[in-house]
């Protein structure tokens, strides 16, 4: 792994850049430093923004300087390098792919040449790495979509997509955490709310976690939606270790 670059971000932040491509190994470096800084905070650090290949660290300039922070992070990196034993957290998210929610399934089917059942099977067949959160509160940039499912975005984006909609946009797949405009092909919907300001924590998952989709029918969707409104947990979290999975396999799909 190359040495990370420290880039100036004004008087109150520092960017630690681990590479210049979308790669799960580079992203794992970002995650390792992010967790190290969250687990044992440096005095004066306000928060960190992990992205595909860099960590932006915001600090209070009254307490810390970029120069001092760089030295402290260098020290942390020496101990944060080994990420192989880090816990792997997989959120299993129920998704209903029925036509009432998956409005664009016919287009995805036509584009990919796969039957809806095969699309669902493949969509549910991967642990998707959350490279980063951004764009909307709790919007997860996922890596690992089966290349056979890549489908271009809609030519005319919808003005309103409901919260929980699951779609495919080009090489990406994901969940709309709140109602928003959008151009992804909708293939289903989850009753899970990745973002709920009244819940602790308001955002379910973090960069470095994984998402796996599980197909449910409409009756189950209705039942889970009701349970969720009563404050029940309707997703499942599986814990494992990073070395349980083949990094190489992810890397093949990760370039999306």
């Amino acid at each position: 792994m190359d040495e990370p670059r420290f880039l100036a971000v004004g008087d109150g932040a520092l960017c630690v850049e681990f590479g210049d491509k979308i790669d799960p190994r580079i992203n794992a470096e970002v995650g390792a430093l992010f967790r190290a800084l969250c687990g044992k905070p440096i005095r004066g650090v306000r928060e960190c923004v992990p992205t595909f290949r860099s960590l932006t660290v915001l600090f209070d300039p009254a307490v810390l300087t970029a120069r001092r922070l760089e030295q402290k992070i260098q020290k942390r990196l020496a101990t944060a390098q080994n990420t192989r034993d880090a816990a792997k957290r997989v959120f299993v998210i129920p998704v209903c792919y029925a036509p009432v929610f998956g409005e664009d399934m016919p287009q995805v089917s036509a584009h990919t040449g796969l039957a809806p059942d095969e699309i669902i099977k493949r969509h549910c067949g991967t642990d998707y790495l959350i490279y980063m959160l951004g764009f909307l509160p709790g919007f997860a940039y996922l890596g690992g979509l089966d290349p056979a499912l890549h489908t271009p975005r809609l030519q005319n984006p919808r003005t309103k997509i409901p919260a929980g909609a699951v779609g495919i946009g080009g090489e990406q797949t994901g969940i709309y955490p709140i109602a928003s405009p959008g151009g992804w092909q909708l293939i289903g919907r989850t009753p899970v709310r990745p973002y709920d300001p009244a819940r602790i924590p308001p955002i379910l998952f973090a960069a470095g976690d994984y998402i796996r989709f599980r197909a449910i029918d409409e009756a189950e969707y209705t039942r889970l939606e009701l349970l969720q409104s009563q404050g029940e947990t309707i997703w499942e979290v599986r814990n494992g270790f990073l070395h349980d999975f083949a990094i190489g396999r992810l890397a093949q799909h990760g370039a999306g």
């Binding site: 880039l7 100036a8 971000v9 004004g10 008087d11 109150g12 932040a13 960017c15 850049e17 210049d20 491509k21 979308i22 992010f34 306000r46 928060e47 960190c48 923004v49 992990p50 992205t51 595909f52 290949r53 860099s54 960590l55 932006t56 915001l58 300039p61 009254a62 300087t65 970029a66 120069r67 980063m132 959160l133 951004g134 764009f135 909307l136 509160p137 709790g138 919007f139 940039y141 709140i178 973002y195 300001p197 308001p202 955002i203 973090a206 960069a207």
Partner: protein, 323 residues
């Protein structure tokens, strides 16, 4: 203890703001918070409370409101030519309101964003650690939205006896002082980077040597500038990474956008520089058509400036809260 009722006008964009919602940028939340932090802090100090109490931020045009209790308020930032019961009042001064009084804020005669602090503060429950309104996410502040006619803002009890707040005044910053000629040129300091290496030397020279004008597409998310095109060496797109308030993005148009309080947390445009946090308030008050120029400072200089700036606001807070 009482209520402010918004009368016929809620203003163009009036929202409750504090210093921002921190700790959630990793989940995609912009920090939000007051755009002109020094003005917001002054408003609170004038009414005798710590500088981070939530205030009302008004944009271009202000609110009309009626109070049903005696209270003390202060108006800072942009000057909205406010009147209490038809009598003009000054900005940067503690003002006494009596039950039934009507405050009318007009259109901004200097600056863009004005702040109204009430002694005791507004009774707003924090969401995710902050009372700031994020309109885009319908989060925080008053029902997650801008104020409109008929809204009733509850007040808390003042931290200091109101009789001790009379005649408190702070100096009006020169660029917001309507007794001086209008300033429509603003120089802001910035540190080059994080992606300044993506630009040619002539691109950097253009960026630092040109006056850019503020376009009408500017808002709480970003101040969009127009002017000389900044030449890139290797394209304007990067793999998305972190954005902070102050980040100067240069998209394919070659014209800079300075990201502000409601900025998205990640983005895929090159960032040529980052404006110092102590200078962002100048951009918050820059009107469409105003001119902006960037002056480069080194990281070390930026650190010194930031320390001086925060020491100054701590001294001010100490002086005004030690009654």
């Amino acid at each position: 203890m009482g209520f402010f009722t918004i009368l016929q006008s809620g203003g163009l964009l009036s929202t409750v703001q504090d210093k921002g919602r921190f700790g959630f940028m990793a989940s995609g939340f912009s920090p939000a918070g007051a755009m002109d932090l020094p003005a917001m802090e002054c408003a609170n100090l004038l009414v005798g409370q710590s500088s981070d109490v939530p205030v009302l931020e008004m944009t271009m045009t202000g609110v009309h409101l009626q109070t049903d209790c005696d209270c003390v308020i202060a108006l800072t930032g942009a000057d909205f030519a406010a009147k209490i019961n038809d009598a003009p009042v000054q900005v940067y001064r503690a003002l006494r309101l009596r039950a039934g009084d009507v405050l009318r804020c007009g259109a901004a005669v200097r600056g863009v964003r004005g702040y109204l602090a009430a002694a005791g503060g507004f009774a707003i429950e924090p969401v995710m650690g902050s009372c700031s309104t994020s309109v885009k996410f319908s989060l925080g502040g008053f029902e997650g939205r801008k104020l409109k006619a008929g809204d009733r803002l509850a007040l808390r009890c003042p931290q200091l006896p109101v009789s001790r707040l009379d005649d408190r005044v702070l100096p009006v910053p020169a660029h917001l002082d309507k007794t001086r000629p209008a300033q429509n040129e603003h120089e802001v300091r910035a540190v080059l980077g994080p992606q300044n290496d993506r630009f040619s030397q002539s691109g950097i020279d253009t960026f630092l040597g040109s006056w850019y004008f503020v376009t009408t597409s500017s808002d709480r998310m970003g101040i969009k500038l127009d002017g000389a095109k900044i030449e890139s060496k290797s394209g304007y797109d990067i793999i998305s990474d972190g954005i902070v308030p102050g980040s100067v993005q240069v998209p394919a148009s070659g014209r800079p956008i300075v990201m502000m309080a409601d900025c998205q947390t990640t983005g895929g445009y090159t960032k040529i520089a980052t404006v110092l946090s102590s200078d962002l308030h100048l951009l918050a008050q820059a009107k469409a058509g105003d001119w902006v120029r960037f002056a480069a400072v080194t990281s070390d200089e930026a650190a010194r400036i930031a320390r001086r700036h925060s020491a100054k606001s701590r001294r001010l807070e100490y002086a005004y809260l030690r009654v």
